[in-house]
Symmetry: C2
Subunit: 211 residues, 2 copies
DNA sequence: CGGCTTCTTGATCCTCTTCAAGGGTGGTGG
DNA sequence: CCACCACCCTTGAAGAGGATCAAGAAGCCG
């Protein structure tokens, strides 16, 4: 594990709005988020943007670039952030020597695939309210895992970016948040979110009537 | 490479309708499709199915299971198929000894992630016609890669399964195919598809008017 | 403070879903 | 070999959910 830490020498700061990498750039390294918040998005040939993920401390980014030796999406910092650069060729070598590391890598990539399948389920099957509820609960869980409050947090992304991720227009996101607030499920004050009834949110997700 | 082939001893037949694996089953092996056609799908807590992929010869399946040591989706054969079982622990060991194999694995998993991002773009941004066009062109390309005709092929899945994959209802899929046929882009005869105007299909995808 | 981006909310429109019915196809068993 | 049955597909009509268009308000940054 020392060997791993030797690689991740110094943190690399990314200012809000700046790109960690962009689609088309040659692949050199993976990046572990140390601090901050980033989004990744792909752009279709005709210019439509799809946000493919939001990333926070502990997340590993750039795995999409392994297959084609080029990044396939843009990674943009949504707030001032810091990442560790993990040169991929070094990681490969090291993971051959350290079975646990190799396994870890496989698992991280696998988790990404599973997570993407979850998003596909969301995009393919869910209604707007369910999508937004799923989004809030997912964020909540991830903040909790990192030791932050699971019920009160600051959204780092715009309504438009949420909408892009969820396959909705920004107006729909805004309306849905307002409706949740009217129903007493959450409190919204611009980008400040408080989940006041997590159970009810989960019921929205599971399509349960107020039984 | 001999060592790899030693692992993949005999093919394992899967009859149409049978499951190669099911969500929740413990993870033992990855599977390389030798022959045939399968689908994978995840089921939400409240029972909705989302088809996450269609798989044909050469595809590697089961990578979602690495992260949690359990399969997270069902894999069902849509026609009589044959797969090779690749015990994962063996593959791990071997990939430590053979750098090219390790790299290959990383690439395959990365490709899966990239492909999923493409589906997210499709589900999040595209209209029904664009989705169906993208679907047909994707199948076309994959058949071509495998040496089959890129313009005439047999769909192994039902309209409902296509719809689930594309985030549409089966009626919408059926209507869209009919419309494409009326417009002279394709010929449909039940599950037999012929692409008669690939260029026009690509224009549908890119949202171009008949300029 | 001023300008800009972002957010909210309303009204209308459009696409896809839902509901419904009929017809076709393939597979099975007599 | 033919008939039957279950499943699948097509098509129509009505309805709903979200998109689009539009305007104004609020927050943020320089």
């Amino acid at each position: 594990m020392q060997a791993v830490e030797a690689l991740v020498t110094q943190g690399m700061p990314i200012k809000r709005g700046d790109a960690l990498y962009r689609a088309g750039e040659p692949f050199k390294a993976l990046y572990a988020v140390r601090l901050g918040f980033l989004k990744t998005s792909v752009i279709s040939e005709d210019g439509r943007e799809q946000v493919t993920g939001f990333h926070m401390s502990g997340d590993l980014m750039g795995m999409d670039a392994i297959s084609g030796d080029r990044h396939t999406c843009d990674a943009i910092a949504l707030e001032d952030s810091e990442v560790c650069e993990l040169p991929f060729s070094d990681m490969e070598k090291l993971s051959r020597q350290i079975p646990a590391l190799q396994r870890h890598f496989y698992k991280v990539m696998s988790r990404e695939i599973v997570s993407d399948h979850g998003v596909m389920l969301l995009l393919g099957n869910m209604k707007a309210e369910e999508r937004v509820a799923a989004f809030l609960l997912n964020l909540s869980r991830r903040f909790q895992t990192r030791g932050y409050s699971s019920t009160g947090f600051h959204l780092r992304m715009t309504r438009e970016e949420i909408g892009s991720y969820l396959g909705l227009k920004l107006e729909t996101v805004s309306r849905t948040l307002s409706r949740f607030q009217d129903q007493g499920l959450i409190k919204v004050q611009n980008r400040l979110i408080e989940l006041t009834d997590v159970c009810a949110l989960k019921q929205v997700l599971n399509n349960e009537q107020g039984a």
